[in-house]
């Protein structure tokens, strides 16, 4: 609704006195402020406020979502069972999986082809939340670069290698279960199904 004239307050700029009109005291105040900042930065805490990047890395928060990795289980096999839950959940449709019958006895399927296009990914973490076996995780690697778009399409070997690197470097994400399998991959011990499949 239109604003009425009686509701308008007119604001005037402040009147300047004779000394203010010179602007000299204001200028002097401004220069003194700049000088104070200069002295404080050079002699005080200023130098420590700046993070010298390649030498000092930033401290990332605990649930930081960086590069993906495919986890291995205790026997070194890829944990992923090619259930397609992550690629279904992905908002950017950047995960491509081709399932195949697994060579191991305790699993039906394993991913023959598992490709993530790291440049399409929006690093939202939905795949990590969707995975029932904790096979895919987002690490804290943030400074990855590639020389071409093709280089940034990570296949299974590359994703597993990220796992190997981060385990070696000890930079596992906080939420990782450190190699232990997630609930859906644990053998049914007692209760619902009755028989337990052999672990080999």
């Amino acid at each position: 609704m239109a604003i009425q004239t009686k509701d308008v307050i007119w604001v005037e700029p402040p009147k300047l006195g004779i000394l203010d009109q010179l602007y000299l005291p204001a200028i002097a105040g401004g220069v003194v402020t700049a000088l104070k900042h200069l002295i404080e930065t050079t002699t005080g805490m200023g130098a420590e406020k700046t993070q010298q990047y390649p030498e000092e890395k930033p401290k990332l928060p605990p649930h930081y979502r960086g590069l993906h990795r495919l986890n291995r289980d205790e026997e070194g096999r890829v944990k992923c069972v090619a259930c397609y839950m992550c690629s279904t959940a992905c908002p950017a449709h950047c995960i491509d999986i081709v399932a195949a019958p697994s060579p191991w006895k305790d699993r039906e399927k394993y991913p023959e082809v598992f490709v993530i296009d790291e440049l399409r990914c929006i690093y939202c973490g939905m795949c990590e939340q969707a995975c029932p076996v904790d096979a895919i995780e987002l690490t804290s690697v943030f400074d990855l670069t590639g020389m071409s778009r093709e280089q940034m399409i990570f296949n299974k070997e590359k994703l597993l290698s990220v796992f190997d690197e981060t385990v070696k470097a000890g930079t596992d994400p906080v939420r990782t279960h450190s190699g232990k399998l997630g609930p859906a991959s644990e053998p049914a011990e007692s209760g619902l199904t009755g028989t337990s499949s052999a672990q080999s």
């Binding site: 308008v8 005037e12 700029p13 300047l16 004779i18 220069v31 200023g46 010298q52």
Partner: protein, 477 residues
């Protein structure tokens, strides 16, 4: 002039040119560092002198001192092109004019003391034994003004001691030397010292720098460049008038335009900033405008005009404009120090009757350069303290503010110095008159700040309930 003198001159030119270019490069680094420190961050600190060699690792990241070198290499290797739509002759001429006028104006900057460089070994000989030799032509070159006075009193017709105009220092020709004896030949610091119109020379040549700007803007065939060049040329020529008027009283009191004479006068009496605070302020403001520095950098600010008159320039030609600007900064800060801040003089510490020798000469050089660098640092601090002027405010300041103040200052000073109303100490009326003139002019301009001329802003009372005032109308009523 013989070969030795020519060689000396050429070597001096080479050294001073190299020094200026180094100053300009490090001036740009200093500006980046100071801008960073004022903004609570560190400036460039990655580029040291290590050139990526592990052997020179000691110099890695050395306060960013290798940054100008890196910038220079970048300017050399960058793609140098001339757009098709430019006026070829003036496009190439403009940065050349900008740099050359700045460097020529720099030629009259004597960095240090006003006496000759003393020899490393004192070759003064015993007068008595020398006078007995009939071939000996006794020429004593005075080192201080006290000695000069004594010599002049002894022999008033020594032609080489006669001062030109009212300067205190003698015109000493370079003696004709056979061979090249540095110890006994007289070498002065500065390419063109003893120019009696030192100040006028600087102003005249700096005025030519307007050509560089105007040609650059016009030849770029680009409306933003043209607007920037127009504004810049209007600004430069408007502020030359207050610049000249500010120093009229200084020159009147000294009686000579010779820069060395002015510094000597300040060494004997007080610095001119004490006698002429208003002149100091006028000059300071005018040199900010002459260097296109904040708050007067409308011609080259990025928010308004892309790049102003140097939009269409790349690589080395752009670097020439930047060099011209920094050289102007150095030259004008030198002028400020020489005219108002006493040059190499520090009361009771570095005076005219300083003990002779190379150390004293060096001390004067160091003091002069320290004062110049602090003025340059002040330039850079002001950049981050003041808002940029709008073009009409800028022109109003020059014509309706600074010129009036300059006229008032000059008139008042001439009247006071001639009539000497309170007798001997009437020179102290000068700073009093400066303050009076400042207050009078600011009081007069207050009357123009009536409500009828000011902008009002409207805020809606209704929306104040919800926190954010809606600005309704801004306009004159």
């Amino acid at each position: 002039m013989n070969i030795a003198q020519l060689l000396v001159v050429l070597v001096t030119i080479g050294i001073v040119f190299a020094a200026v270019m180094t100053l300009v490069g490090y001036g740009s680094l200093l500006e980046r560092k100071i801008s960073a420190w004022v903004q609570d961050r560190l400036g460039p600190n990655r580029v040291g002198f290590d050139l990526n060699q592990p052997m020179l690792g000691l110099f890695k990241g050395f306060f960013g001192l290798g940054q100008p070198l890196a910038d220079g290499v970048k300017f050399l290797l960058k793609e140098e092109f001339a757009p098709k739509h430019v006026d070829k002759l003036f496009y190439f001429l403009a940065p050349a004019v900008a740099v050359s006028t700045a460097l020529i104006a720099f030629a009259v900057v004597p960095f240090g003391s006003t006496s000759v460089i003393p020899p490393l070994v004192d070759k003064r000989i015993d007068l008595a034994s020398a006078k007995s030799n009939p071939n000996y032509q006794h020429r004593v070159y005075p080192r201080t003004n006290a000695e000069l006075d004594k010599l002049k009193a002894a022999d008033p017709f020594r032609s080489d001691l006669l001062a030109s105009s009212k300067g205190r220092n003698p015109q000493i020709d370079l003696p004709k030397v056979v061979g090249f004896e540095l110890g006994s030949s007289e070498v002065r610091f500065g390419i063109a010292p003893q120019i009696d119109l030192g100040v006028l020379f600087v102003f005249a040549v700096s005025s030519l720098a307007v050509y560089g700007v105007v040609l650059g803007g016009w030849s770029s065939n680009n409306k933003y460049s043209l607007l920037g060049a127009l504004r810049s040329s209007a600004q430069l020529i408007s502020y030359e008038i207050p610049m000249g008027m500010a120093i009229l009283v200084v020159i009147y009191m000294v009686g000579s335009l010779n820069l060395q004479a002015i510094v000597d006068y300040q060494a004997e009496h007080t610095w001119f900033i004490v006698y002429q605070p208003l002149g100091f302020l006028l000059f300071l403001t005018a040199i900010f405008a002459e260097c296109n520095r904040m708050p007067f950098d409308l011609p080259e600010c990025e928010q308004e005009l892309v790049g102003g008159y140097h939009t269409e320039y790349s690589s080395m030609k752009f670097a020439c404009f930047m060099m011209g600007e920094y050289t102007h900064m150095v030259t004008t800060s030198f002028l400020l120090v020489a005219l108002f801040l006493g040059g190499w003089h520090i009361p009771f510490v570095v005076t005219q009757d300083f003990p002779v020798g190379i150390l004293a000469w060096g001390a004067k050089l160091v003091v002069f350069c320290a004062k110049m660098i602090s003025v340059i640092v002040f330039f850079m601090l002001v950049r981050w303290s003041l808002l940029r002027f709008r073009f009409d405010q800028l022109m109003a300041l020059a014509w309706k503010g600074l010129m009036i103040l300059g006229i008032l200052n000059t008139l008042g000073a001439v009247v006071i110095l001639h009539t000497k109303p309170i007798g001997e100490h009437s020179i102290w009326l000068l700073p009093a008159w400066s303050i009076v003139a400042l207050l009078v002019v600011s009081g007069l301009s207050m009357g123009r700040n009536k409500a009828a001329n000011r902008f009002r802003t409207g805020i809606s009372r209704v929306d104040q309930r919800f926190g954010a005032p809606e600005v309704l109308v801004a306009g004159r009523h």
